[in-house]
Symmetry: C2
Subunit: 205 residues, 2 copies
């Protein structure tokens, strides 16, 4: 890695921690320069604008999410076990200490929902859509494998899984509910159960 | 209303709009003074600190939520119909144009989840717990009325309803998914269906 690339990575890493605590709007080039003992102009040599830096922060978090959640999850057996592995990875992501102020994506959702449709917002929406696509495809495979019923709607399934994760995140991080993980597991089990292709269950329905 | 009280309300109103767009951290006494054509010291005469102002913002939003969601919802018939009315009110709240930058509570959740446990965070957690208590109590009444099965856990139910709402909010506001409300309705129906005390359903189980 070149010296320039190394510096660039160190800046992004620091900016990610800042965004985790203070949101993307809280990423300040002045404060970053202080923390890294660089001049502001030295920092600007790597990033032309605050927007570019925010975009890089989102990209760095996305790469980490792919490394820690998506890739390991996709190694699980196709279908329902893979969906469960992805959901478990997402849970661990939401409880990891990797980010001092919690998942920067969750913070960015609330921050950018009403923002103008610029490059940063588009990056976030693109990341979310990519992740939803992974869930939809995996859910479709679970139907094909007979793990899930034929009438399960994969887009609805991915939507409902998001709800399970967001409710967990709020219970765990805001409410500091010690039962948050137990609740998460019960919500997830209910989602799998009602999608289940278990033939006995289908006969009863 | 006294002149002082009127001014105070005008300040809070403006601060609520600011928090909706820029988060609680974005509530700036300097910008508020500008927007209201007041001096900063005039503004400080009403609010001793930024923290007090943020606290008042949350209180004002909470009062509005009670007026628009809780009170009308509680007028619906006890049990499942009342739960549905509360959920519908919450949906409308999340789609209302009352807040230029979306629900200030949703934004505050992401902002304060990792914040020190000060007065503002305690206010937010207290508001959320009060709302969850309304849902838990109403769910319990739905069980007593026989609308829901005896084995439904009201705390889990309120947790799952939160998931339904958060997933909707993200789909609608961040992803701008035109099908967000349809998905919300399907998630809600599934939640009611699996809680349903319909005796035929219980006999089958």
């Amino acid at each position: 890695m070149s010296k320039g690339e190394e510096t660039r990575r160190a800046i992004v890493e620091q900016a990610v921690a800042m965004a985790s605590r203070d949101g993307l709007a809280g990423v300040s080039i002045g404060r970053l320069a202080d923390q890294l003992a660089m001049s502001k102009s030295g920092l600007f040599a790597h990033f032309k604008s605050k927007e570019e830096l925010q975009d890089q922060v989102l990209q760095a978090v996305s790469e980490r999410f792919i490394d820690r959640v998506v890739r390991p999850g996709l190694k699980a057996p196709r279908g329902a076990p893979r969906l469960r592995a992805l959901a478990e990875g997402w849970l661990r992501w939401g409880t990891a200490d990797a980010y001092p102020g919690g998942c920067p994506i969750f913070a960015a959702i609330a921050e950018l929902d009403d923002a103008p449709d610029d490059r940063v917002r588009q990056r976030l929406v693109g990341m979310m859509r990519d992740w939803i696509d992974v869930l939809v495809t995996t859910c479709r495979q679970a139907i094909e494998a007979g793990h899930f019923r034929r009438d399960v709607d994969p887009v609805q399934w991915a939507h409902d899984l998001q709800g399970v994760q967001y409710a967990f995140y709020v219970a765990r991080r805001l409410l500091r509910d010690p039962g948050a993980e137990k609740r998460w597991r019960r919500s997830l089990d209910a989602l799998f159960e009602r999608s289940s292709g278990d033939p006995q269950r289908q006969a009863r329905a």
